[in-house]
């Protein structure tokens, strides 16, 4: 990094941007200019640091001080105290929740200690809008090595030897896919990057594109060189404006530096990349649907074979890979297959990025070696369950995955173990649930998603999922019968077996896994008309505790349907036939007198 003595890195990820990190950056700049320090200290917007829970995050280099929860007003103090006088602003340092001591550097925080960053290596370290920083961090060295030293076959062999498998969900060996596409003879082939990221509650791919767009560009060019393609396409969700903007900037810079375009690095290899926009359809993440969508059509999947490698975009051989898969490629080429395959488990090599969210203390973006256990992720990195509640379940694999119980906490995470446990790796969403989450409602939530997103092409998926949803709705309303449980299971298997694409084939997984792991909750809804988690409104009753009610009339005044009656200064009463269970009284009561039964 140029001649600056110090750098202020401000997180520019979506989460921190939503908490005014743009203004924080501007304030820093103004503070520095006012003091004539803007030639000595550079302010940079980086990609996501990962520790979203503690955002907005500001890091000072070279001393690596990691400030958390920074507000725009704090910039003055950091400039005056830290940058000028060299005294750290203690109140903005991270406090370790167990020792209560303050930690200045991220590498000493539990959140980061067990992480190994391969795909995220540059996120939060470099300015994603400056190609020189990427190059300064060994960027485009892998492309150079391929073009100058390795034949396409040798480069593919390196990827095969590394054991890299697709990070988009399926886990197909990446090198093998490249090799297949290379061997299909055709004068026009395509490299496609799948940045559709449909799993709701996951933000890995967008963070990579926001924080390190050049790694994806470099890997796509390498892929093009290997399979014999000179055209790349990135299919990205239109809902990701920041990622799109960073990618566009990066493409422009790569062209300026001759790293895209004709005769790259003085060789006869030509390659360029275009952006295609998704328009909000989960099924478009499926590769055949994605290709139809790029052709301007409805994004409906088609039967495989032919695989995209044989007949893809515009009928030409097309290699589709996920963003994170691509992000692993450059380091594998520069550091070698052996280095990569030394990380991970026997059949799952390398690391995996997860978007850790839900009822967990440290929500954020993490990257761990394959084989790390769920317990390590949830407790050591994630800092345990929010508000000291009891852990109930962890969901991986998004709408195609399953809900695992405590019994699986010591399972090492890899493709095969998660499948065996009844869930799947998926693209990396990981949602933690606590005692307050009703598992029947969670299954219903995922089915609602599937219903919205089914393309409607096949009957089992279009209608079968609707029936599943109806049964679940019945159960959450307390109208379920024991036969419904058998029906759920049977129907689920029919849908799995007879749907065309991965969406339908996996859509009943949340139902099946909750049936397997949380049967007692289903039974409680059906047999006892109760929701153990207290989530299902139809099964709740709000009642007033006579002992605690002071007759302040606050509930009476807030009930939207006039279900509450009573004299001033004497206990009130809720008429259950009128109550719509909105919970307004429960939230308003200052005396804790309203109970949920």
């Amino acid at each position: 990094m140029a001649d600056y003595k110090m750098h202020v890195l401000v997180c520019g990820g979506t989460g921190c941007k939503a908490s005014q990190s743009e203004l924080i950056k501007k304030n820093f700049q103004n503070q520095l200019e006012e003091r004539g320090l803007d030639q000595d200290v550079q302010v940079i917007h980086t990609g996501c640091f990962g520790f979203c829970e503690q955002g907005p995050i500001v890091k000072i280099q070279p001393d690596n001080t990691f400030y958390v929860g920074v507000t725009p007003e704090d910039s003055r103090e950091i400039v005056e105290e830290h940058l000028i006088k060299g005294r750290k602003v203690e109140r903005l340092l991270y406090t370790d929740p167990t020792t209560l001591g303050q930690i200045t550097e991220s590498k000493n925080m539990d959140f980061y200690k067990k992480q190994v960053r391969v795909a995220l290596r540059n996120c939060g370290f470099i300015n994603p809008e400056n190609i020189e920083e990427y190059i300064g961090n060994n960027g485009y060295a892998a492309l150079g090595k391929c073009l100058e030293e390795l034949s396409p076959e040798q480069a593919i062999q390196t990827i095969i030897d590394s054991g890299l498998r697709g990070r988009g969900g399926g886990g197909f060996p990446t090198g093998l896919k490249w090799d297949i596409t290379r061997k299909v003879e055709h004068e026009q082939k395509y490299v496609v990057c799948n940045a559709d990221e449909g799993d709701p509650g996951a933000f890995m791919d967008r963070s990579i594109l926001e924080g390190d767009p050049h790694t994806v560009i470099e890997a796509m060019a390498i892929c093009g060189y290997c399979i014999g393609a000179n055209k790349g396409l990135v299919y990205i969700r239109a809902e990701y404006p920041l990622a799109i903007q960073r990618l566009k900037t990066a493409l422009r810079q790569a062209r300026q530096y001759g790293l895209l375009g004709q005769n790259i690095l003085g060789t006869d290899f030509d390659f360029d990349i275009e952006i295609r926009y998704g328009a909000g359809a989960f099924v478009c993440g499926e590769e055949t649907a994605l290709i139809h969508s790029m052709e301007g059509k409805r994004g409906e999947p088609t039967f495989k074979p032919p695989f995209p490698s044989q007949e893809g975009y515009l009928g030409k051989p097309t290699n589709v890979n996920n963003v994170e898969t691509f992000a692993n490629v450059p380091p594998i080429i520069t550091k070698g297959a052996e280095w990569f395959s030394s990380i991970g488990t026997e059949k799952s090599k390398g690391t995996k990025v997860f978007a850790l969210a839900g009822k967990i203390n440290n929500v954020g973006l993490i990257e761990v070696p394959m084989g790390t256990t769920l317990r390590e992720v949830i407790y050591d990195i994630g800092g345990g369950i929010k508000n000291g509640k009891e852990f109930k379940s962890v969901q991986t694999g998004g709408p195609s995955g399953g809900c695992l119980t405590k019994a699986f906490l010591d399972t090492p995470i890899d493709y095969d173990n998660l499948l065996a446990a009844g869930s799947m790796m998926g693209s990396g969403g990981m949602i933690v649930m606590d005692e307050d989450d009703c598992m029947v409602s969670i299954a219903k939530f995922y089915l609602e998603f599937t219903l919205d997103e089914s393309c409607g092409k096949c009957t089992p998926c279009r209608i079968g999922n609707k029936r599943l949803h109806e049964i679940l709705e019945k159960i959450t309303e307390g109208k379920g019968t024991p036969e419904d449980l058998t029906k759920l299971r049977m129907l689920s298997h029919v849908i799995k077996d007879s749907s065309l694409c991965g969406l339908g084939q996996t859509s009943p997984n949340p139902v099946l896994s909750t049936l397997d792991n949380f049967m007692h909750e289903y039974e409680a809804h059906i047999n006892d008309s109760t929701c153990p988690a207290g989530q299902c409104k139809a099964l709740l009753q709000y009642i007033i505790d006579d002992e605690k009610c002071t007759g302040c009339t606050l509930c009476f005044r807030n009930c939207p349907v006039g279900a509450i009656s009573g004299e001033k200064r004497s206990p009130h009463y809720i008429d259950q036939t009128l109550c719509i269970k909105c919970g307004a009284c429960y939230e308003k009561c200052k005396f804790d007198a309203i109970k949920i039964a």
């Binding site: 989460g15 005014q20 979203c52 709701p200 509650g201 301007g296 839900g358 949602i431």
Partner: protein, 168 residues
Amino acid sequence: MPKIKLAEKTITQIKEVCAKFNHEEGELINVLHQVQGRLGYLPAEVQEVIARELNMSVAKVYGVVTFYSFFTMLPQGEFPISICMGTACYVRGAEQVLSEFKRQLKIEVGETSADGKFSLSSLRCVGACGLAPVVTVGEKVYGRVSPQQVSKIIAEYQEGCPAESKSA
């Protein structure tokens, strides 16, 4: 076919976009993105012009518009409110926030309030799961929204111009 009653200016705008993409059928989605970006929504009349310009059937255009949730055939409110219903937000109580918005604005998801000010939609993950539950109003993102904060957010936009207030 119903008579197209679009303003001349609007039709020119649509034609410009189609020309930019060489009237190619394969560019339909890009064309729709740009036209919706300019007009705000894609009513039937607009789809007819696009179909003519790209030399394809209106049914095909309609088929694509209705397939993708990003495209809308109804005009949005002046301040479009979206509640994230991604999993991370759902488990942190997005449903309650959504019902509070519905209750206070007296509209359902997909509708626009009578005064044309607010429209309500739900979306899936805006990528700020750390701030769940998340609500967006136009470009602005509100994090850790509780049902109690809903009236405050609405009030910010009620007076016409949004106050210079803080998110999260």
